[in-house]
């Protein structure tokens, strides 16, 4: 796990996320969010979970980001002012970050280097999904179907 790659990906992800949270134009924020997601997928690759990294690109960038951009296109107004910034939110976010940072740095057992592991193949993930995690898999399938039908009903034209 090379430090150079880690630093580059970390800077990219944090810059993209910060831009997504603070830009005023909505579509620029959505595109910076895409950069942040790709950065997180690169982190997954660095950590040796390539399948999750590819699923992250597939689902988050290819589906969620497209949904967000589509919604932005459909709900445009000419007078797009974001009505000021709420400084209370900034204070709360900084406080939460300070708390989390204190908790992480207080735990010395966390500063370990990565132990060498064997590569996690897709075959093992598939076997785990079908044996240990088959009930969560069915539940997620049901959830996705319900979300699909519910989303359609929410935006369907109401028949008079």
């Amino acid at each position: 796990m090379s430090p150079a790659a880690f630093i580059v990906i970390a800077i990219l992800t944090l810059a993209g996320a910060f831009a997504a949270a603070s830009l005023s134009k909505l579509i620029h924020a959505a595109l910076c969010l895409v950069v942040a997601f790709v950065g997180i997928a690169a982190f997954f690759f660095l950590l040796g979970a390539e399948f999750v990294g590819l699923v992250q690109v597939f689902v988050y960038v290819g589906a969620v980001a497209v949904l967000i951009v589509f919604t932005i296109l459909l709900t445009r107004r000419a007078d797009e002012n974001t009505a000021g910034f709420n400084w209370g939110g900034v204070a709360i976010a900084l406080a939460v970050f300070a708390g989390l940072l204190w908790a992480i740095l207080q735990t010395p057992e966390l500063s370990v280097a990565a132990p060498p592991i064997e590569a996690l193949t897709v075959k093992r993930i598939g076997e785990a999904l079908m044996t240990d995690y088959v009930w969560p898999l069915q539940c997620v399938g049901l959830l996705l179907t319900v979300a699909l039908v519910g989303g359609l009903i929410l935006v369907m034209d109401e028949k008079r």
């Binding site: 690109v57 960038v61 290819g62 980001a65 497209v66 951009v69 589509f70 897709v122």
Partner: protein
């Protein structure tokens, strides 16, 4: 002898890498990747130039006229003339367009199309990036094309562009599902997401060495291949599904406000998408770089791959010259009401075939499953009722 001819590019690359024997490890990795990438880009740029002029000539011959035949021998230097024309055109950007988004959109679409070319095996040991889940990589990167299209539509600040972009995204998203689900039977039978493993599983011959063990020669494979091919037609916005770039309907859709080199980038992206989908279809269904006849195995593997790729590209162009454009709501209905159920049936048929241990009984059972669902779905689509011949009443 035939083995060295087959592996000639691998030996060339190893010779190039051997020129610097005492470089550190990461330099060797970067140089190796760069050689792969430049070889890939060189081959596919040449193929792009060739196909652009071949498409015009083949379309012309279908329409009973000559194609471009002035520039160079039989018109084959036409891409050079086209390239020079597009490069020296003035680059107009609308004054109220979003400059960054307008600039990045064609780059993003072209970049995702080129990235997908990296996981396809072009010959024996000739995959540029051989990763464990290559097929997932292909679809993950290919699905980010929709983002580029929406950026193009929004960045132009033009109502036609926006409507064209929304239509294009709706079409691409609808057909991604059949595209991916038709790949699932192949992955299920092979048991791996790696493109190399899928090609290796199609080696050998059945029926006393005559019929190759390609997946297209099984009933579920043939149905899945046709569905994959049609979904590939839609994903690359080719006729009969080219509503996003229909000139008579929506000017040029999301590409309206682009001129010069950026317009050329959009077409580069479309053709590269065609190459990628055809390459993947050859890998998944047509046996990759294996030869169809046992005696012709001395022909190099990459030659067989490009022959099959050329056959599929010719079919793309042939369909463009033959069929008219489909209406956009028919396109959506076709995807959700016909192709998706057929794609699910292919999975069931493949499971039935595999369960019967690839024998004759398995072949017949899976053929029965596919045929019954196909006839059921076509009765449900009810085309006979809706498109019955019209009866005319003339004034007496």
């Amino acid at each position: 002898m035939s083995d060295s001819f087959d592996q000639i590019f691998i030996h060339a690359k190893q010779w190039l890498l051997g020129l610097m024997p005492n470089a550190p490890d990461w330099v060797m990795q970067i140089v190796s990747s760069l050689i792969n990438i430049s070889a890939l880009l060189g081959v596919f740029m040449t193929l792009f130039a060739l196909i652009s002029v071949l498409e015009r000539k083949i379309l012309a011959r279908i329409q009973n006229r000559y194609g471009p035949n002035r520039v160079g021998p039989f018109g084959f230097l036409q891409p050079v003339a086209d390239g020079i024309k597009l490069l020296i055109k003035e680059d107009i950007v609308p004054i109220r367009a979003d400059k960054i988004v307008h600039f990045v959109a064609p780059i993003m679409i072209a970049a995702t199309a080129i990235l997908t070319l990296g996981v396809i095996p072009y010959g024996r040991n000739m995959t540029p990036f051989s990763i464990d889940s290559g097929i997932l990589f292909f679809f993950a990167v290919g699905s980010t094309t929709e983002l580029g299209v929406s950026m193009a539509g929004w960045g132009s600040n033009n109502k036609f562009s926006m409507l064209g972009a929304m239509r294009a995204i709706a079409q691409m998203v609808s057909y991604e599902l059949p595209l991916i689900i038709t790949v699932l039977p192949v992955v299920m039978i092979v048991g791996s997401l790696s493109a190399d493993a899928i090609v290796a599983a199609q080696e050998g011959y059945v029926l006393a060495g005559i019929v190759p063990r390609w997946f297209v020669f099984t009933p579920w494979g043939a149905a899945a291949f046709i569905l994959f091919f049609v979904s590939g037609l839609v994903e690359s916005n080719r006729t009969p599904f080219d509503v996003p770039e229909g000139e008579s309907e929506i000017v040029a859709g999301h590409m309206t406000e682009y001129s010069g080199f950026k317009y050329a980038t959009f077409f580069l992206a479309e053709y590269f998408g065609m190459f990628a989908i055809s390459g993947l279809a050859v890998t998944l269904f047509l046996g990759g770089w294996h030869s169809p006849i046992g005696v012709l195995q001395f022909v190099p593997s990459y030659a067989w791959f490009f022959l099959k790729l050329a056959a599929l590209l010719f079919t793309f162009i042939w369909i463009r010259g033959t069929l008219p454009r489909m209406r956009v709501d028919h396109v959506m209905g076709f995807a959700w009401k016909f192709m998706l159920p057929m794609a699910f049936t292919c999975i069931i048929a493949a499971a039935v075939w595999h369960y019967q241990r690839h024998g004759l009984a398995g072949w017949l059972w899976s053929l029965a499953v596919v045929a019954i669902v196909y006839f059921g779905l076509s009765q449900l689509a009810g085309t006979k009722k809706r498109f019955a011949p019209r009866t005319y009443r003339f004034a007496e």
